[in-house]
């Protein structure tokens, strides 16, 4: 692996390739799609959180003059009640289909029941209100602990608890139970000088992407379906459409438009199959766009959770044992992030005696979805707060505690595998040495209460399949064709890796994110995989091009390819005592035609990500309002290809973490209706709520990537919840265990209300 000084492009900060289109408004998003004869689709959603659908009468709505088509679940192909692999995930096909259009039961308020295509969106809205649905209203269950009770309302009569291949005698709402265990828990706690055990809860949270879901579908007479949409992964959409509609993937083309945020929430399909089905039935293009309320009520939020953590340590601060029970909201169908949460909860530490139990529980809320490092923020909120309490009781510096217990290469992860080269301790050391931590905090200025919190976080990061094609033009500039949706600057970070191989500048590469017919299979932009895995595909494709060009040069100079060297974008050789050289662009010109290199890579070795955050904040003891004063986020990114975009990922994660910690959360009434389904009432932080966030990029190169890249997009959302909770707890002298820490909760904890 080259040293820093050898890099020409990596580590620099060129202007992103899509920047001008984005700032001038020229970039095309899903809502920009328009066809002259286009219809507009609208969904009828259940007004009840739990109800049996007895009948649906579409006769009145069908008589509306603007209505061209109405569909219900009867129009979807029957799919098997079986678990299947779907791209990079696994899913029960019947659940997937039922979440698109409810068949026998509506399982959450907002669950789609029917859909209409009409000549204009207003007529479609009118028509859905003319559809008559006869419901048998059932009692909803909205809390995971209540859902686990033996007499709780049951969502799925056929659901059985999956437990590492074995059925368990659990409540019918417990979809799965997982366990990670090693060492001797009893002996570990017996060896402890101090034990802290606490219960924690977190709210259901939405990703809050600014662009709502959208889809426009067109079905041609030759049986080919095209869908333009906002998605984190076009191939994942193609796979889901194929399964739900029972169509061959070769008949489906998905065109990924620019994306206004996803954060894990734009992997699962919702209205895309509905738009497709309406287009197939009407033989006209059908466009659908969700409202914000539909997004809140009808798409997958991050799961709320209940977590119990018990941790023991000796007087020196060494952890002797750890135990956790995590119960996560799956939503209406199985599949929460409890598995990832269970893996992450104690991941930064070397713990010899440990048991972690995770439960995936269905209840009458929308099917939960991924949200940056899914499951880890909830889990680490609980574990990092207990660690902070132990530090307080031992009167030990929280950074020192982490240096004593931090995991390093060769230590065993909580679920068994051994850590490869990781950079957790380097993030803790960077925190210890940072000016923020060295500076003391005045605890009671002007009658307000101040506190400092520290927390760490982990995300495993992913690999998976990615494809890249590189075309070399005669002018020496390059078209780089990729299938990875660019959410956070990955056009630049992928192009820069190809540029480094070829000795070109970032500006010489012209990246394009294309549809599923135009590039090889590429996994979703998620799991912090894109700069890593698609980057490796780009490196491999560039190396292929470099080899081809060496062949061209050798032929041109009448030498063997082995006689030709390549350095800094120039081809070199010696012939008859003469020094020969040609630039990349000169070779492109003499190549006599386009050079093409196509690669599909499926790399392992993604390299784990760790972060350690420090926050100072102030609590108004009269109002309970928390103001963040200073925030420093330290993260091991392996190698920052484009440091600005790595920093942007970290800053964004912190901003979202501030919302999760202090203000965000679905509010439900007793009937299971979300009562804050708009951005007026669902309070995400704005620039007024956030300080300048300082980022520190630690670079412990990942040996699994040619340039050392580790995924950077998810771990920054893991520590903020606990860091802020620890700071609030230290400020007010009361341990905070429930999120969000809204002003009323803070005042209640202080005994003021």
């Amino acid at each position: 692996m080259p040293e820093d000084k050898e890099f020409k492009v990596i580590g620099t900060r060129p202007i992103r390739h899509d920047g001008i289109d984005k700032v001038t408004g020229r970039a095309a998003y899903g809502a920009d799609i328009h066809f002259p004869d286009m219809l507009h689709g609208k969904v009828l959603r259940s007004p009840y959180a739990h109800a049996r659908i007895k009948s649906i009468d579409i006769s009145k709505a069908s008589s509306h003059p603007a209505v061209k088509c109405i569909i219900t679940s009867d129009d979807l192909p029957l799919v098997e009640d079986t678990i299947t692999e779907l791209g990079e995930t696994v899913i029960n096909l019947k659940y997937l289909s039922d979440n698109i259009l409810a068949s026998d039961k509506a399982l959450y308020k907002g669950h789609p029941v029917a859909a209409v295509a009409a000549t204009d969106p207003y007529a479609a809205e009118e028509a859905i209100n003319m559809i008559e649905v006869d419901y048998e209203i059932l009692e909803p269950v909205l809390d995971v602990r209540q859902a686990m009770e033996p007499d709780a309302p049951v969502l799925h009569e056929s659901l059985k608890t999956e437990s590492m291949g074995k059925g368990e005698d659990q409540s019918q709402n417990v979809a799965s139970h997982s366990q990670r265990k090693h060492g001797d828990l009893e002996a570990g706690f017996a060896a402890a000088d101090i034990i802290v055990e606490r219960d924690f809860s977190t709210a259901t949270i939405h990703q809050g992407y600014i662009e709502t879901h959208n889809a426009t579908a067109q079905y041609n007479e030759d049986g080919e379906l095209t869908v333009w949409c906002s998605t984190q992964g076009a191939f994942g959409v193609r796979d889901q459409l194929s399964k739900i509609l029972k169509m061959p993937v070769s008949k489906i083309k998905v065109v990924p438009m620019e994306i206004g945020g996803g954060f894990g929430g734009k992997v699962q399909v919702y209205i895309k199959p509905i738009a497709a089905l309406l287009a197939m039935k009407t033989r006209k293009p059908v466009k659908m766009t969700m409202t914000r309320t539909e997004v809140f009520e009808g798409t997958g939020p991050a799961p709320g959770s209940y977590i119990r953590v018990k941790l023991g340590a000796d007087k020196t601060g060494k952890i002797t044992a750890a135990e956790a029970h995590l119960i996560f909201e799956a939503g209406a169908y199985p599949g929460s992030a409890v598995g990832a949460g269970s893996l992450c909860i104690f991941a930064p530490y070397k713990i010899d005696n440990l048991q972690i139990d995770g439960y995936d529980v269905v209840l009458n809320k929308p099917k939960s979805s991924a949200y940056r490092a899914p499951g880890a923020p909830n889990a680490c909120f609980a574990s990092e707060c207990v660690i902070d309490e132990i530090c307080q009781k031992l009167d030990m510096d929280p950074i020192k505690f982490r240096l004593i217990n931090g995991a390093k290469e060769g230590d065993r992860r909580c679920d068994g595998p051994i850590y490869p080269k990781i950079g957790y301790l380097e993030t803790v050391e960077a925190a210890q040495q940072h000016g923020h931590y060295a500076e003391s905090i005045d605890k009671t200025p002007n009658g307000k209460l101040r506190g400092r919190g520290v927390a760490s976080g982990f995300w495993m990061n992913g690999g998976g399949r990615s494809s890249v094609t590189i075309n070399v033009n005669a002018d020496g500039r390059i078209n780089l064709i990729e299938g990875s949706t660019d959410i956070g600057g990955t056009r630049a970070s992928i192009a820069m890796q190809a540029a480094e191989v070829l000795g070109l500048s970032s500006e010489d590469i012209m990246p394009a994110v294309v549809d599923t017919d135009s590039v090889g299979y590429t996994g979703v932009t998620g799991g912090s995989r894109t700069t890593f895995a698609t980057g490796i595909a780009a490196i491999n494709a560039a190396e292929n091009i470099r080899a081809q060009m060496i062949g061209v040069v050798a032929n041109h100079w009448e030498l063997k390819p082995s006689d030709v060297k390549f350095k800094d974008g120039t081809f070199l050789a010696q012939k008859n005592g003469e020094e020969l050289q040609m630039t990349f662009k000169e070779v492109a010109a003499v190549a006599g035609g386009p050079l093409v290199g196509s690669v599909t890579a499926s790399p392992g070795g993604a390299g784990n990500g760790f972060a350690t955050h420090i926050v100072d904040l102030e609590v108004d003891s009269e109002t309970g309002k928390v103001d963040i004063l200073r925030y420093t986020a330290i993260q091991d990114v392996g190698r920052a290809i484009h440091p600005s975009y790595a920093e942007g990922q970290v800053e964004g994660g912190v901003a979202q973490g501030v919302g999760w910690a202090l203000s965000e959360g679905y509010l439900y009434n007793d009937e299971g209706h979300m009562t804050n389904a708009s951005f007026l009432d669902y309070r995400m932080p704005t620039s007024y709520d956030l300080p300048s966030i300082e980022t520190v990029l630690v670079e412990v190169p990942n040996p699994g990537h040619p340039y050392g890249v580790r995924g950077a997009g998810e771990v920054p959302l893991v520590p903020p919840l606990a860091a802020i909770a620890n700071a609030v707890s230290r400020a007010i002298g009361v341990r905070m265990t429930e999120l969000p820490m809204s002003p009323d909760r803070v005042l209640e904890a202080m005994g003021s209300i």
Partner: protein
């Protein structure tokens, strides 16, 4: 022989043993030989000739991507863990 770490929820099949040494050059051979020693293991881990979708296999510190075909060496450490996905 490869060292197989037995998931705690499968230790009812191994009389509480948390690690076992198993012969095999691929994950398929490891599971079949594991099942011969501790009947029932294959049913827990596999659907037919495939690893169950919600189970991931680690060889050492590396997540396997080749399923039953994954090659195993005599000094490999094998972990069967719940599969997870990212966002």
């Amino acid at each position: 022989m490869a060292l197989v770490s037995v998931p705690s929820l499968m230790q009812d099949l191994t009389a509480g043993q948390d690690q076992v040494n198993i012969e095999g050059e691929t994950i398929r051979e490891i599971i079949l030989n594991f099942d011969k020693v501790f009947p029932g293991v294959k049913d827990r881990l596999c659907d037919g000739d495939r690893i169950k979708p919600f189970i991931a296999v680690y060889i050492g510190s590396e997540l396997s991507q080749a399923g039953m075909r994954e090659l195993v060496s005599p000094d490999s450490e094998i972990h069967f863990v719940p599969a997870i996905s990212g966002g």
